[in-house]
Amino acid sequence: MTPLHSYLLLSALLFAVGLGGALTRRNAIIVLVGIELMLNAANLNFIAFWRYGQNPQALTGIVFVIFSIGVAAAEAAVGLALIISIYRHYKTANVDQIDSMKG
Amino acid sequence: MDQIFVNLKDWLVALFPAGRQQELVSALISVAALIGTFAGLFALTTVLERKGLGRIQNRYGPNRVGPYGILQPMADGLKALTKEDVVPRSADQVVHFLAPLVLVAPVFLALAVVPMGRNMAAVDFDAGILFFFAVGAATELSVFMAGWSSRNKYSLLGAMRAIAQMISYEVPLILSSLAVIMIAGSLSAVTIVEKQAGYSGLIPHWFVLTPWGFAGFILFMIAAAAESNRSPFDLPEGESEIIAGYYIEYSGFKFALFFLGEYIGLFAASGLAITLFLGGWNAPFPFLTWIPSYVWFFGKLLALIAVFIWVRGTLPRLRMDQLMNFAWKFMLPMALINLLTAGVWHFTPPGLARWIICALLVFGPYVALGRTLFESKKLAKRTYSYAE
């Protein structure tokens, strides 16, 4: 059987990959994708802790993940809408070039 | 007789040593049976569809290969297999190759939760209906992969249309099935079918025979036709405008796979419609229950496919804006109202009053929406310059 720490390590790895991507990629969309990956890593932790926890009947982890999925979907929609609107304005989705606040 | 296939499978599984191996064999048998049955049904449907459409258009349809043309699918299959598989030079090879597989695998997966007879669901998930919609979501991705990787403007246009259409119609599809889930109180397909067993007098307890169920069934069928890109919602293919949409650059066996995936998707949607609204494998009358349950399921499936063929032979293709307007301004409000009606139905005591209230709740908005949607358009009488 798979011990709990392997899930936690996988989650940490996913989080690190997402973080690395979010910090280093030029394209704003991929930055957003990195953030999504980090959220998913957190979700994985919730599920793993629910499964290995002492009180799985409480369903706290599951319910939290359901809310997290719903909120993440909203976050992705708004984030992408923002990126599209920024792209319309600057004609680029490169985060390095979007550096001025003035319209 | 009713359990003949179940017993056959049990017997086959019992030949193997118990434990892990038996589970594997059981799964393999289910998968093989599913693929075999539905691939055969696909072959049958293609020829029936072409013959039916032919009859609707006052012609014979295929009648050359075999008696009455029933061997036509074999000829088609041979042709598809022997054709050259052309991949455009600038296409994205890997994605282009994966797209048909990504389409075919999920639609077969979706079929797994549909109960095809008493004890004849390949898997009975606790969240079976959710599973159906979840794997159905992957088909959108495959359509995009096909359209984008072909590096062809027509195919990309077709893919974009298809995705916009699928996403728009997924909302009423799920909402209309939600009414059933609400009343049945379960997401498991097997339980939903069990809830529809039983008869009052001669009338079965199918959900389609209630006001909200009937409206839900119609909405579900329309949305299912749009989801599986069937006429009159076949804009993504639109031969006359974008040639064949996202499969313009596919030939030979990959095209056949797309074709197969599309039809299996149609079967899966019809199967779900049967499960949710038409009582699954239950017989329509109590004195017909001696006929095996799978006969009823496949009979209903064929009847629904015939309806799809009939609609395809009748209705012209919609325009893109009409399609979107229809989804968001008619289907979505109707599905929401239907959900409300199902709730009202659940909380009012049985009787004639419940029927009248619920029928009014569904029919009133239908008339109101139908009138207002087209009233604002101010459709003028069409005049022709040259034709009389």
């Binding site: 011990p3 720490h5 392997s6 899930y7 936690l8 390590l9 996988l10 940490a12 996913l14 690190a16 990959v17 973080l19 910090l23 280093t24 990629r25 030029r26 394209n27 704003a28 969309i29 991929i30 994708v33 999504e36 990956l37 998913n40 979700n43 599920i47 793993a48 629910w50 499964r51 599951i62 319910v63 809310f67 999925i69 993440a72 979907a73 909203a74 976050e75 992705a76 708004v78 992408l80 990126i83 599209i84 609107s85 004609k91 989705a93 390095d96 | 606790d126 969240a127 959710l130 979840a134 979501a137 992957a138 959108e140 991705l141 995009f144 984008w148 974009m160 995705i163 109180g185 997401l187």
Partner: protein
Amino acid sequence: MSATFVMLAVLTVVSAVAVMLLRNLVHCALALAVTFAGLAGIYLQLNAQFVGFAQLLVYVGAVAILIVFAILLTRGREPPLQSVFSGSAIVGFGIAIVVFAVLATMTLSSRALGMEKPGEANASVAQIGEQLMTRYILPLEVAGLLLTVALIGAVIIAMRDKEPE
């Protein structure tokens, strides 16, 4: 470690790395869909059926498609030969590696090391629904409100500005 877990974990991590390294943005989005599907598989392997299917439905069916649309809508005049990483990439990688190192050491030194499953745990849809409708009714309503606001907000943000008349 069971074979299913290893397979799913490798699939998930490899595709996640691919998302972050590939040059072609559409390939990134497709790899992202694979990552999400792999995670859904891991949820299923952890007996969280409902969450796994919801993950498939929301992430593969909606978010991945949304990202693909956004990529196609924002493509264009960017120089293709530029590096995909921004100027300060080294620092970013460094931070990511440090974060992973910290998390991994914490995990490996915690009580979680070698912890096994405490028997069967199952979350049926009925149980989840009951919890959502009783204990978590307020969060549920707030989430519904949030989704509605996000829907309207996304539409308004992405809507093309009206031409000045």
